[in-house]
Symmetry: C2
Subunit: 192 residues, 2 copies
DNA sequence: ACCTGAACACCGTTCAAGT
DNA sequence: ACCTGAACACCGTTCAAGT
């Protein structure tokens, strides 16, 4: 494994075990057995290292969504599974999720954020299938996908931050996702 | 103005001008003219100071929502205005918004997060009015409000992070909010 | 190319005193 | 009660060298 990759792996591991603040350049260096400033030969700064972790995971998410898209199930079922992947990823790796979807370090820099768009594009393709099947409303695909994507992110983010355990309400994000999909159905048979 | 309040005000000001990382205990102390460690006589640590800023703004948001609720307009119009308040606040004070709705410092500690629930409760009341008027679907109020709240947060958060400027799509969060409300209408007259 | 030790300018936080 | 200076253990980052 190349040094770059070892650094990224170490950073990801520290992220998982100790959260973002645990990912110090010094700790990463120690984890791979270098002196405290050696990482600067591989990454411009701490931000760049974190971005490398994020891009690796954007790619992994993209693959996961692409796999879901190829399943032989109803479009709406694909969408549900894709969103479940999203929620599960966030629950299993909360710090990574925050890095990818809430951290200012990853914010729009230049062309870099293309990687961040790929998972979105996969979900958009699934949403389009749902729209073609009449399972989601006939509005511009990008807008609808943006809304769904944002809603799921919001549910995850608020849940992780403990800002939404209002009474019994939405204890977990998956319940919110279910409701979202249900309410977006263009035609609903009444109740139950 | 009491010293506590001056510290909170200075912290808020630094937050607005330089972002979260600019709110160092030392900078806050300097801003109010104390020595670098004097703030510790007023707040247990940096996190507690940030929480004080957040609670102040949770209260302000609660008031703003409460005012909207008392307007003499259609329920759905109230909801639109309330969500506009939300989006505008986030756009005008992005760092504060992140502190209130995305920062782990504010995450569920103990009873403190009651303050964070008050804006939610105001929105829930408006949503209930909409439901009573038949302008929003007849599902449990807390769940529906949670979904709307989370969706708006997600739109704001993804927009701020530059993670959603997919082509023309959702350039700004307000467009997403519009679409959300439109799609949540239980009865829609076709198109246009 | 890749690694190292020393150093700088910051942090949050604590402590022993001062008024 | 409220404030202070000195100090500790961290950071990110830079630099002059070493192999």
């Amino acid at each position: 494994m190349k040094t770059d990759q070892r650094l990224v792996a170490a950073a990801a591991s520290l992220l998982d075990t100790g959260g973002e603040s645990a990912v110090t350049i010094r700790a990463v260096a120690q984890a791979v057995g270098m002196s405290h400033n050696a990482p600067y030969k591989h990454f411009e700064n701490r931000s760049a290292l974190l971005r490398a972790v994020a891009f690796q995971d954007f790619a992994a998410l993209t693959n996961a969504f692409a796999e879901v898209r190829q399943l032989r199930v109803r479009p709406l079922e694909k969408l549900k599974q894709a969103l479940t992947v999203f929620v599960s990823y966030a629950q299993e790796y909360p710090a990574r999720y925050r890095l990818l979807y809430s951290d200012p370090s990853i914010a729009a820099q230049g062309g870099d954020l293309e990687a961040a768009m790929k998972p979105f594009a996969e979900v958009a393709a699934i949403v389009q299938e749902c729209q073609n099947a009449g399972d989601l409303p006939d509005v511009p695909n990008v807008e609808l996908t943006g809304l769904i994507y944002a809603s799921v992110h919001g549910l995850i983010d608020l849940q992780m931050g403990g800002r939404m355990r209002q009474e019994k309400g939405l204890t977990d994000a998956s319940k919110g996702v279910e409701l979202l999909i249900k309410l977006l159905q263009p035609l609903r048979d009444s109740g139950g």
